[in-house]
Symmetry: C2
Subunit: 420 residues, 2 copies
Amino acid sequence: MSILIKNALLSNEIKDIYIKGNIINKIDSKINAKADNIIDAMSKAVLPSFLNLHTHAAMNLFRSYADDMKLEDWLKKKIWPVEARLTEDDVYWGAKFACLEMIKSGTAFFNDMYWHYGATARAADEMGLRANISAVFIDMFDNQKAKEQIERNEKLFIQSQQYSNRINFALGPHSIYTVSEKSLLWAKKFADKHNLMIHIHLSETEKEADDCIKKRKKRPVEYLEDIGFLGDNVIAAHCIHANDKEIKILKKYNVCVVYNPVSNMKLCSGVFPYEKMKNAGVNICLGTDGCASNNNLDMLEEMKFASLLQKSYSRNPVALPAKDCFKMAAINPAKAFGLNCGRIEEGALADLILVDLKDLNLNPNHNLVSNLVYSANGTCVDTTICNGKILMHNRKVEGEEEILRKANEVAFRLTANKSA
Amino acid sequence: MSILIKNALLSNEIKDIYIKGNIINKIDSKINAKADNIIDAMSKAVLPSFLNLHTHAAMNLFRSYADDMKLEDWLKKKIWPVEARLTEDDVYWGAKFACLEMIKSGTAFFNDMYWHYGATARAADEMGLRANISAVFIDMFDNQKAKEQIERNEKLFIQSQQYSNRINFALGPHSIYTVSEKSLLWAKKFADKHNLMIHIHLSETEKEADDCIKKRKKRPVEYLEDIGFLGDNVIAAHCIHANDKEIKILKKYNVCVVYNPVSNMKLCSGVFPYEKMKNAGVNICLGTDGCASNNNLDMLEEMKFASLLQKSYSRNPVALPAKDCFKMAAINPAKAFGLNCGRIEEGALADLILVDLKDLNLNPNHNLVSNLVYSANGTCVDTTICNGKILMHNRKVEGEEEILRKANEVAFRLTANKSA
């Protein structure tokens, strides 16, 4: 398979791009080559696709099902009851819907944690995306549950071999307040042995930090360091309440931290200490979190919130400039996962997007990155290519009507059936 | 002229809507009537259009021209030099572009303040929008300048009679730190005499409040009360630093206040005291401010920022719920301007939009208002109707290519010509 992209704007020059297999084979001002697909990218700019580093994909089913509520009511009265009814098939359609939304807004990779691992893996694989997918691992400090979870994850790891190499199995110990030390260490050992990533929620709320201090006389990141959990295969979502010492520890172990500004604002979790993290040299990436706390997966919108939240709280209009937002959304995550993408260069993976320069929000084009971050939204993306395959062109994705129909059916059955 | 909208979702029911002239004439489950235009609104919901209560429309030309800068550098090095070169024709194309963007995101009314009044008025009139437009009035406490501004505004008021009755002339005294007391009082008197609105920036920054206290031994709102400036024809943009006493005064005089969350965050102006304003019963509306400090005019995005900024700072996830955001964007402004719109009812002005229920971000449709506020953006709007005229249908606006081309030409000429 090959793709020839003609006349694309690449860093202020018009270039042709030849993709062979899943790799950017050649970039030149004029390429005359035969290709299975030729895309005329006149009036379009080529950019690396986005990587969404914290999702619960199938929660797309619950978009706007429960907003403007207190956290406890939200969880206990709304989210947990419907999640308890979720089947493998429900998660499959929810995840397909999330994949569709990501493709439509230029995201080609996501780092997920949710129930029914196989359903999300199958959905992402079929949709052509790249993904790091973990099953939620919660034992609530119960030995029997821990045993079940460990066995389940061992099985899922074997099962995961059936998917394409775009789909990676990961460990998903939910958090330090839902997973025992023993299970955390098992996850770490298993991940290290099999070269897997670990996805965990960390220091999302003040309560989490306070409870950890009460229970263990140390803060969450210190606790994880002490038990030997930290490493460069750990993706820690949130890290809002990490203090200076903890930030140094995160850097020491090259933990990748994920900033989720919309979710943090909506759930009132606090403000991610961006400036301190950046000054410490931590690898910071961007995530949307699930649709029940966002309520979308649009990485362009997320970049705007990322910057403006930092500007507002620091009262510094120069804080977190647009180009750094773009790095957090498209470049830093590739580093975290050791992926050969996040740049438009010969030899890199063909994970890229074309944005429509005729989109009103990208005009005038005084500064493309500023326009992408502060003005545009995901609908400016015309074409999404992942691993050398066209997943969207002219904003059309194969099978989108069926996905929307099925996801709606599932969503309404789950939320209507309140007595189940 | 008449329009028959068939099969639109209106508050959970499917309805036909018959528009005669500029009025919603009839709403029923089935209307069989001849009409000049018939719109099939199957899979679309009908809603009142948005009213953007604080804009500097032609600043669309400077979108993303100067971001991530300190306020003083931004103004002195970037914005003021290009504004000094603006011609009437430049503002005309900038305003046309802004009108196009507003139509495309469902806004049918805007409250503007900018240079070259006639250019913005002509643009809004031609584009079919409803608008309240003021010329920037700045005298810098100079008698000669004040005299010139007064004469200019008297002339503009007469000139404004040439536009359709959708376009209203308003007074635009810029702020208390750029306009003398004498001129403020002239504006108030002139507005009262001719039944005009007044558009002013008020308490946008801490510095404005501090300087006012130093100079006048009172706070900005107290000062305006004392000189007899306040009234229900005053639209006060920002009001971030109004204290409890000032909020009471704003309510006492039924001043309409405009919350501009994106601009406030981007320029680090502070946080609008929403809860206090709401509890005091102040009429609160939403605005985007100009594109140089936003960087778009999307009222759907603005609603999300409005809610999330309040939630984050108050650490209360129930703060500023979605339905109140929608009121601030579509209902409260109609009250402020005494406009017979902001609702889909027989007898109301036909200022309305159709949103595409197949837009991914509006699915599943557990709650349409939540989806509009937290998930969607302006591209979910399929049709915009103002004053009984279709301004956009199927996302197409007449003449949009030319507007984009001309606005870009103007924008690049203005910003390239740095030595002029």
